[in-house]
């Protein structure tokens, strides 16, 4: 039986790896430095973590990675994309790429066209698909772009035209030409979904290299396992799917950390704070999953409509710089980051950081040499930690969904800064292995499926519509590898649409289930 799971998380500073058994016990864990080519860091972490583990007992390997997110932020390795929108005569007043940062626009967006097609809110066609225009566009793109992004008005409700346009493009450009269809990428909101689809298509090359590197590392260590990547909502997609939908992994880091915190602490409803070297993120877990943000999420300066964890971040971490100007104590927002290991006073450096303050106050132990902190006055320690405590309290208050008291799970290398007692918080939990919560979150991830579409309750009744949405979400989860006998519905959101006839309602359903063991 292949019972063990391998989880790897590539973060900005560290690449973490864990091996977890089916009860969720951590059998081994390691931290390696993230490398310029992240595949090297993955290989190093993998090699270290499987020492002493029976390789045949590992059945699955999960990777959470910041490669695609970094590629977008750094405008690196992105490929040019042709953009085809099926919506004319609607939408002509806003062209594809509107409001993109200039440098990203010129790097990514090649030829674009808005052609006849698209659907109305009631499912009828805005216009029939202009197949001739699809063929013309294919010829225009030939040799100029690596991929084409296709988006269609109301595709989340009806994607027939997107499929047809994709088929025509394949006929014209060859069946291995890369195409991204918007209904697979995003939800309601044409411009945001189109943006996400374009970014997705420009990441195909990056994604292919990540997955190949991951596979090589696994095979190189004799691991014959199923491989997965974690996505923004904390669930898995197969490595093959990830090559087609890399954009869905850009927010997976914080999600993995929160899901990992939840499982390590063995509680499903809590606040989570992840404190690193530079910043602290606070999120909230409801039923074991991060609450998702309702506001538009920007990726590399581009507005998208992803389901991303609702997080509040501030510049508060182990490397955050503490200054004393006259009598006033100022904390951050800048940080020495990963250089805390050489620049903090306690490590022989010359910069006063929150790690120094934390050590002096007894919150942080076994780091550096406390004798180097003789020159730090108690006033500075009290002042800086008062600021930290106040910030943590404000973050927690802002994140809570109600007045009910919740516990706070503190994870990450800088979590020593979190005080033991916070007003309005029902205890601070510091789980074992908290410093590899990200990789643990990846290792325990499940498969999922989601639906987001507009129903008209007046026609078929609310129950029938909800049942349909649940069935579609469940089927999608099973397609992603979930065990059909154990799929559960984890969220149902109904948003009645103002001014819409026939009791129009937007319904979002998500289904999640454990992976079907092979």
């Amino acid at each position: 039986m292949s019972r063990l799971r391998l989880g790897i998380d590539v973060g900005g500073t560290n690449t973490d790896a864990v091996v977890v058994d089916e009860e969720g016990n951590v059998l081994a864990s390691t931290k390696a430095a993230t490398t310029l080519d992240p595949s090297d860091g993955i290989a190093t972490a993998l090699e270290a973590v499987i020492v002493g583990i029976d390789k045949g007992s590992i059945g699955q390997a999960m990777l959470g990675t910041t490669h695609p997110a970094n590629a977008i932020i750094q405008r690196k390795d992105l490929e040019p994309v042709g953009v085809l929108r099926l919506a004319a005569p609607s939408s002509l007043a806003i062209r594809p790429g509107a409001a993109w940062p200039r440098d990203l626009l010129t790097t990514v967006i090649g030829p674009s066209a808005i052609i006849g097609g698209g659907y109305e809110y009631d499912g009828s066609e805005i216009a029939p698909l202009d197949e001739g225009a699809v063929r013309d566009f294919a010829r225009l793109c030939k040799g100029k772009v690596s991929a084409i992004a296709v988006s269609c008005a109301f595709a989340p409700a009806n994607y027939e035209q997107e499929l047809r346009a994709g088929a025509i493009l394949s006929e014209e450009l060859g069946s291995d030409f890369a195409i991204s269809l918007s209904h697979q990428v995003g939800t309601l909101g044409l411009l945001e979904r189109e943006n996400a689809t374009i970014l997705n298509a420009s990441l195909f090359g990056v994604a292919r290299r990540v997955v190949e590197g991951f596979h090589q590392a696994l095979v190189g260590h004799g691991l014959k396992v199923d491989s997965y990547l974690t996505q923004n909502d904390g669930t898995l997609m197969t490595a093959e799917e990830a090559i087609k939908l890399p954009i869905l992994t850009v927010g997976s880091g914080p999600t993995n950390s929160m899901r990992g915190a939840c499982a390590l602490a063995k509680i499903s409803d809590a606040l989570v704070i992840d404190v690193g070297g530079t910043s602290a993120d606070v999120g909230i877990l409801i039923d074991g999953f991060p609450r998702e943000s309702s506001a538009a999420v920007e990726v590399g300066g581009v507005r998208t409509n992803f389901r991303m964890p609702d997080l509040i971040s501030i510049g508060l971490g182990g490397g955050t710089i503490v200054r004393t100007d006259g009598g006033a104590i100022r904390v951050g927002p800048d940080s020495v980051g990963y250089r805390v290991v050489t620049e903090a006073l306690i490590t022989g450096g010359s910069t006063l950081t929150l790690s120094d303050v934390s050590t002096k106050a007894g919150r942080l132990t076994s780091f550096g040499n406390p004798e180097l902190l003789g020159g730090v006055s108690d006033d500075v320690v009290v002042g800086a930690l008062n600021w930290v405590d106040h910030q943590v309290q404000i973050l927690c208050e802002r994140m809570k969904a109600s007045r009910t008291s919740l516990p706070l799970i503190a994870v990450g290398g800088g979590s020593h800064l979190v005080p033991d007692s916070i007003p309005g918080i029902d205890g601070v939990i510091r789980p074992k292995h908290h410093s590899v919560a990200n990789a643990f979150g990846a290792a325990i991830a499940e498969a999922s499926g989601a639906v987001d579409r507009v129903y008209r309750y007046a026609a078929e009744g609310r129950e029938a519509c909800l049942d349909d949405a649940k069935r579609l979400a469940t089927e999608a989860a099973v397609r992603s590898g979930a065990d059909p006998d154990h799929v559960r519905i984890t969220s149902i959101v109904e948003v009645p649409m103002s001014y819409l006839p026939g009791q129009g309602c937007r319904v979002q359903v998500k289904a999640v289930g454990p992976l079907l063991h092979s």
Partner: protein, 357 residues
């Protein structure tokens, strides 16, 4: 006459968000439309009534539909230009300027984009200087000006023109037409002359919106004295700074309704309650009404002074509640029946913010 340029756009969007009083539709799509229209056709002239022929025709232009649909069925142009052209043909006269009906939310921006495309100026006036949910809620209704004849169009070339007996019926017929035309449409109503606009419109609304946005942007940049300058400019007052401790939402009869409760930052014994119907309508402190429609209630993020829309209000947010008197043109007979608390079904008195009822 002055030019409105892309440099004014950010301030105008911020002003429009504030005047949206929590609703009015996200100006984001409108902003993208204006940007493209200015790139394609150039800047837009903002005209005073005195700059124009007093007998010249002014036509309003606005978006009507459901916000969720407009996010998916993005504006094209012909649904707006089609309204103007059809009404112009029906009246046998070409317009000398376009006018926003609602300076507040998305409809602040639409007339600018369309004016750029049609090569017309936008007259510096409107009929609300805030967001309201229905067509008849205008100072023009108070002045006895008819919303009809009125045109509604889609992007494909379908146009309807209505003649109606009251502005309330105009609202109902427009909504009915929109349901058949894709729920993301243009509407033109309240056609009038330049001299009627000068006499009955809210004057200087567009400039006011840009200036208000500029003052608020200075607050957001943390400039010395900017908060007081912003409040002075709007004759506004900060009523409350607190933390949201309850938000209850419900949707009935097509309106997003809700109740917001805020606890004072320094004195937890003090609370403010705000009633929502698409927009922020009424604010009560310790049960007593303190800001009431048609005066404006603006909820700003306590940290960064960003106006918060009703959909994004959330437990735990720290906010400032600002009361702003409505445009002085609202204060005339019939105001309370049309847009006072009772018009929205609340049996409470109007508490004038500006000092006079």
């Amino acid at each position: 006459m002055r030019e409105l340029t892309l440099a004014d756009l950010d301030d105008m969007v911020l002003g429009a968000t504030l005047l949206g009083v929590g609703g009015g539709g996200d100006p984001y799509i409108g902003r993208l439309m204006v940007r493209q229209a200015m790139e394609d056709y150039g800047t837009v002239r903002i005209a005073e009534p005195a700059d124009l022929d007093p007998d010249g025709l002014v036509l309003t232009i606005a978006m009507i539909g459901a916000p969720t649909v407009i996010g998916e069925k993005v504006p094209a142009g012909p649904e707006y230009t089609g309204c103007i052209e059809a009404l112009s043909t029906y009246l046998g006269k070409k317009p000398v300027a376009l006018m926003p009906i609602e300076v507040g939310g998305m409809n602040t921006l639409i007339p600018i984009a369309i004016a750029a495309a049609m090569g017309l100026p936008v007259i510096d006036a409107d009929s609300m200087r805030r967001a309201f949910p229905q067509i008849e809620m205008t100072v023009f209704t108070l002045a006895g000006i008819s919303a009809s004849p009125m045109s509604v169009a889609d992007e494909k070339g379908n146009v309807v023109i209505f003649e109606t007996t009251t502005n309330q019926i105009a609202e109902k017929l427009a909504r009915a037409a929109v349901m058949q035309l894709g729920m993301a449409n243009g509407i033109s109503c309240y056609s009038m002359t330049v001299s009627q606009v000068a006499k009955h419109g809210i004057q200087g609304s567009m400039s006011y919106c840009v200036d208000l946005g500029r003052k608020l942007a200075a607050v957001q940049r943390g400039e010395e004295g900017a908060y007081d300058a912003f409040l002075d400019f709007a004759k506004a007052k900060k009523f409350f700074s607190g933390k949201i401790i309850d938000i209850d939402r419900r949707t009935t009869e097509g309106f997003a309704r809700g109740t917001l409760v805020i606890e004072h930052l320094d004195d937890p014994a003090r609370t403010m309650r705000i009633e929502i119907q698409n927009e922020l309508l009424l604010a009560f402190e310790d049960g007593k009404p303190v800001i009431t429609t048609p005066d404006l209630i603006c909820v700003l993020d306590h940290e960064n002074a960003q106006p918060i829309t009703t959909e994004t209000l959330a437990f735990g947010q720290r906010v400032d509640v600002i009361g702003m008197p409505c445009a002085p043109e609202w204060h005339q007979p019939g105001m309370l029946e049309l847009v006072g608390p009772k018009a929205f079904g609340y049996d409470i008195p109007y508490v004038p913010m500006g000092g006079e009822a």
